[in-house]
Assembly symmetry: C2
Homo-oligomer: 218 residues x 2
DNA sequence: CGTAATGTACGAACTGGTGAGTTAGTTGTA
DNA sequence: TACAACTAACTCACCAGTTCGTACATTACG
């Protein structure tokens, strides 16, 4: 299961490479599911955008549903890996919190497909995640980081103590996800593009300010 | 065309009532679209859950897409009407802001189908709203209320002046929408039900606190 | 030559949409 | 009032196009 050594690259050996074929299918499927939704995505269309055939999707993944599950697993793995690499122990609790918020902000902005996949999965009431041993119940590294930040902040007397890490994580995610996930209806109704680069820095600072002012209040 | 007088009610005359039939189709369709998504919902299934037939859906609405658009229009009309009735002019800007945030919180919590419909519409990049003369571009009454609250708050020296009504509205919506829209993946991954009644009051106060502390900071 | 990997062709079930005809109610008029 | 003419509301059966999935054949690697 672990990525194949691939040490001395077989180079241009494109065909007859199972891992390559699987990876290509997953990449195309991720984009297609994010673009059209689970029900809107077509297995035939995914296959067509691949250099292989539909038969391979069934050969490697078993079906549309399992393919979607693996797409989700792969998408969550990306953000987890980034969060795991975040080191804010050396920072002041307030700056650490701001860093985490901005990291979340940046990741969501640069991975709109991930945000869409999560929205889609919520429409389906997370039934696919429930069927994934890799995703269900496994906590998020960001939560550990956040827990330590809050502990330090409270110990230093900066932060209020009636909110836990999950609530803070929820508030940060809410802001960052909403900007991406709901930008279309928001734009259609209010005529403001939440992703306008001119407002990006303002919003990026706003998440941090929102949480910091809240946690340090009272 | 205008609704029949129906002054002295024809009472139990259930059949042959166009308005009743249309309303029934809309109600069933709203629930079905919210439940399964636009592509997941089946016109046949909507018809089956109705006391009328599929042909009537095409007779009155023209097609699946137009039916969905009317469902969206009707759903937005509900929240707009509630927001229009909100009167906070007599309140202190801070209390007024809190009232508006809590009104939004309550509405989203009690109308999960609306939140789902909006998510679904965003997956479709708001293309249906764009085709609706009733929805596209028409501003939200909540925005007018919010603008006045912010003006008063700034005039009184309470609020910072580098945020506009739309940003505040976005932050409030983000929190309220996220709780409902993403509760399934959140629960599957973190094992916490964001809708647990035990946390309801805490979250309800949190939206207000978040915004008030942010606006009064600096 | 055995087997993993791949391609082709096909089909059963489903889906949105429609054509054609029917029933109930309303209006005008003699 | 009687009744023909008209229209809105409705039903049913069916089609044309999709969609997921699979049986079967083929290729190439070790």
């Amino acid at each position: 299961m672990a990525a194949p050594p691939s040490g001395d690259a077989p180079a241009v050996d494109r065909s007859r490479d199972a891992e390559r074929t699987k990876a290509e299918i997953l990449a195309v499927a991720a984009h297609e599911f994010a673009d059209k939704g689970y029900d809107g995505a077509r297995v035939d269309e995914i296959a067509a955008k691949t250099s292989t055939t539909k038969r391979m999707i069934y050969y490697y993944f078993g079906g549309k549903e399992q393919l979607f599950i693996e797409v989700l697993e792969r998408s969550y793995a990306v953000i987890r890996s980034i969060e795991r690499d975040l080191d804010v122990e050396h920072l002041d609790p307030i700056d650490a919190l701001r860093s985490l918020a901005e990291l979340t902000f940046d990741h969501h902005e640069s991975h709109p497909d991930f945000v869409r996949l999560v929205s889609i999965e919520n429409i389906h009431r997370a039934e696919h995640i429930a069927h994934s041993t890799e995703l269900a119940g496994l906590a998020n590294p960001a939560l550990d980081v956040l827990t330590r930040i809050l502990d330090r902040g409270r110990a230093a007397g900066y932060f209020r103590d009636d909110v836990d890490a999950l609530d803070v994580h929820m508030a940060i995610s809410a802001f960052c996800v909403f900007r991406i996930a709901n930008r279309h209806t928001f734009n259609a109704i209010f005529g403001r593009d939440m992703l306008d680069p001119a407002r990006r820095e303002h919003h990026r600072r706003m998440v941090g300010d929102l949480l910091v002012s809240y946690l340090t209040s009272r």
